[in-house]
């Protein structure tokens, strides 16, 4: 019987398989950041172990880094200690690191792909759930906990429980103004935050094949929000073109050998998935979340749902809690929901294409009075590219704040946070209670919707901006 993409990559990395034991898998690339690694390095030190493969390991600083005044000492002493700990550990164990101020610094899931380190058919791990991002290249990529970080540092392997496979087939074409973000939000709402549990998702179909690498990363990034182990997309010409010429992409004869291998990384025609979901792309519209988990979403044209409309009692209670936390009334059209802040950035939507999309909407327009808009590039490289294209000028001319690269308001570990009760349209991936700051309220949106929302001061799509005047609601 044929095999799926995920099974092929898995099989190619089995170091040891024995009855009654989980498979021991080899890890091709281990990404580190400051938050989930200190206790792992401590563990190594305590046991007198070393990093087995420093040449397959790389660290960057992202979660704690400030996005203003980066040339000054870090104001928060606790963040400072954590960043210094990573620097010390990297030096002691011989791991390459890109610290704040370095041209390769940025959000770990933006940095790996742009360096060309994330490649088809590799296994990629990081102590970070959004490692699923790298699956966009046909890599088997998943987030791990700190104990596993230590395990990979020490052995370059992981014992892993078997997975199931789910095909998410998206056929047709995404309508004008509908993006990868809308698609993945719609998928999560459809299958639920636990719908992908135990599965590696493979996104396939004509709509997926038509997407850029950046859009594919947006989709795979949020696989974890459906509870999945990982998300993957088969590599193709788009993938190879993105990789070719990047600093760590193979060269010469190695490139040819690599492409020959990568071309085999497709699900066989006769392979069988354990589950399948089919989605018609042409039916999608801009999608936003109204609740406090990424599965609580609806089309922008819809209204805040009535909790009573949920059949499942757990979902009903969850919706009641969510509306209370979010300060929303059932039945309110989503387009009437006013925001205080807009955040464009994160490993979901902080790449150059996302900034271009947001800038295109903002160009010649103004951020609404009373709305604060933060634009945080996913990496220094993205920032440099944006500056070269003049996007930073578009943002600042519109009244948005152009910041330095990092995770920033995606999780508010640095000073970029919402105040209690503040409402934000955010291009990030999690709308959990307090995620963007204590008491903050998050609506997940695409970069286009974020920009249109900033202009009108309420949830909106670019089509609502026929003129620069706020449409009456």
């Amino acid at each position: 019987m044929g095999r799926t993409l995920a099974e092929k990559v898995w099989d190619d990395h089995v170091v040891r398989r024995a009855e009654g034991e989980p498979d021991l898998l080899y890890i091709d690339l281990h990404l580190l950041h400051e938050v989930t690694s200190p206790q792992a390095f401590d563990g190594l030190r305590l046991a007198g172990r070393t990093v087995r493969r420093t040449d397959l390991t790389i660290a960057t600083e992202d979660h704690n880094t400030p996005t203003l005044d980066i040339d000054k000492p870090i104001a928060d002493p606790v963040s400072k200690v954590q960043l210094e700990t990573l620097r010390r550990n990297a030096a002691e164990f011989g791991v390459r690191i890109h610290s704040l101020g370095d041209v390769e610094q940025g959000v770990v899931h933006v940095v790996g792909p742009q360096l060309g380190l994330t490649q088809p058919g590799t296994t990629v791990v990081c102590g970070d759930s959004h490692t699923s991002t790298h699956g966009a290249f046909g890599a088997l990529a998943f987030g791990i906990g700190t104990s596993q970080v230590e395990h990979v540092l020490a052995t370059q392997t992981l014992p892993l429980a078997p997975f199931r496979t789910m095909a998410i087939t998206v056929e047709g074409e995404l309508p004008e103004g509908v993006t990868a973000k809308d698609l993945i939000l719609a998928i999560i709402t459809r299958i639920g935050t636990g719908g992908g549990q135990g599965y590696v998702l493979e996104y396939r179909g004509s709509a997926i094949r038509g997407l850029s690498m950046e859009a594919r990363m947006t989709i795979c990034n949020m696989s974890i929000e459906a509870g999945a182990r990982a998300g993957m997309i088969a590599p193709d010409r788009t993938t190879f073109d993105y990789l070719q010429g990047r600093p760590h992409a193979p060269q010469g004869a190695d490139w040819d050998a690599a492409v020959a291998y990568w071309e085999t990384l497709v699900t066989d025609e006769d392979a069988v998935f354990d589950a399948e979901v089919v989605i018609d792309a042409s039916e999608l519209t801009p999608f936003v979340t109204w609740g406090t988990n990424p599965g609580q979403g609806a089309p922008l044209g819809a209204s805040v749902p009535d909790p009573a409309s949920f059949e499942d009692p757990q979902e009903r209670v969850a919706a009641e809690n969510a509306l209370k936390y979010m300060g929303l009334q059932a039945g309110t059209p989503l387009r009437e929901v006013k925001v205080d802040a807009v955040f464009v950035g994160s490993c979901t939507n902080g790449r150059i294409e996302d900034l271009r999309a947001a800038a295109a909407v903002l160009d010649g327009r103004q951020v609404a009075d009373g709305v604060r808009m933060l634009v945080v590039p996913g990496s220094v490289r993205v920032a440099l590219q944006a500056v070269e294209e003049g996007l930073d000028k578009v943002f600042t001319a519109a009244g948005a704040e152009w910041r330095h690269a990092g995770c920033s308001m995606c999780l508010g570990m640095n000073p970029d946070q919402l105040a209690p009760g503040e409402r934000c349209a955010s291009t990030s991936n999690r709308n959990f209670e307090g995620r963007q700051g204590k008491g903050g309220r998050t609506h997940l949106v695409s970069p286009q919707v974020a920009a249109a929302t900033a202009v009108l001061g309420r949830l909106a799509a670019p089509v609502d901006l026929s003129s620069n005047v706020a449409v009456e609601v």
Binding site: D42, I144, Q148, P159, G227, R229, A257, V317
Partner: protein
């Protein structure tokens, strides 16, 4: 890791679904570089409410958390497991756990027990009605017991063996270090390396 064989304790019934790791331990606590001292951050936002179940005096000293489905969704932060353990929890019972959280818990000896939703409901009801009710999580017999309830649960045999013996994964893997070396010799040359490109 400490061995886990069997544990009996009073419970905290937390009747919520989708308890994400940002609720279990908010991000600002993640700046700590140790594995201990997270108890103060456990459910920090909810604990501000005096009515919150964890704040009820009769729940103090409880060691078993009983909760709704999709517990531990979200971030991969192992700090969520440490926070639960630092606070004193030894076992968590739910009908569904997020994968990464579950993996993290079992690596630290926090036993996450999956039971059918109806059984979880019964334990919730029992422990809500009677704060002094004891719940036993018996890993040897793979069974959860409480007044009027005896429910067996599944757990991967290998994981169970590691927990019962308090074994650490890294030492087990290193016993097979030769397999790793052999595998490394067959890795294609085109595989990426992180060494700086000059």
């Amino acid at each position: 890791m400490e061995k886990f064989t069997t544990h009996t304790g009073r419970a905290v019934p937390l009747r919520r679904s989708n308890v994400d790791t940002d609720q279990i331990i908010p991000a600002h606590w993640l700046k700590k570089v140790t594995r201990s001292g997270f108890e103060g951050g456990l459910f920090e936002a909810w604990r501000k409410d005096p009515e919150f179940i964890l704040n009820q005096p009769e729940r103090s000293g409880a060691t078993v958390l009983v909760t709704g489905p999709e517990f531990g969704t979200g971030s991969s932060r192992e700090h969520a497991v440490w926070a639960l353990q630092n606070y004193g929890f030894q076992a968590v019972i739910s009908s569904r756990f997020a994968d990464i959280f579950r993996g993290n818990s079992l690596k630290n000896g926090l036993l996450t027990v999956v039971l059918p939703a109806e059984t979880v409901e019964r334990i919730l009801a029992l422990t809500e009605a009677d704060p002094s009710a004891e719940v036993t999580v018996d890993l040897e017999a793979r069974e959860v017991r409480a007044e009027g309830i005896a429910a067996s649960f599944e757990l991967d045999e290998n994981v169970r063996w590691r927990l019962l013996n308090g074994l650490d994964d890294i030492s087990i893997t290193l016993q097979n270090a030769d397999d790793i070396t052999v595998f490394e010799q067959t890795r294609p040359t085109f595989k990426p390396r992180t060494l700086p490109v000059l």
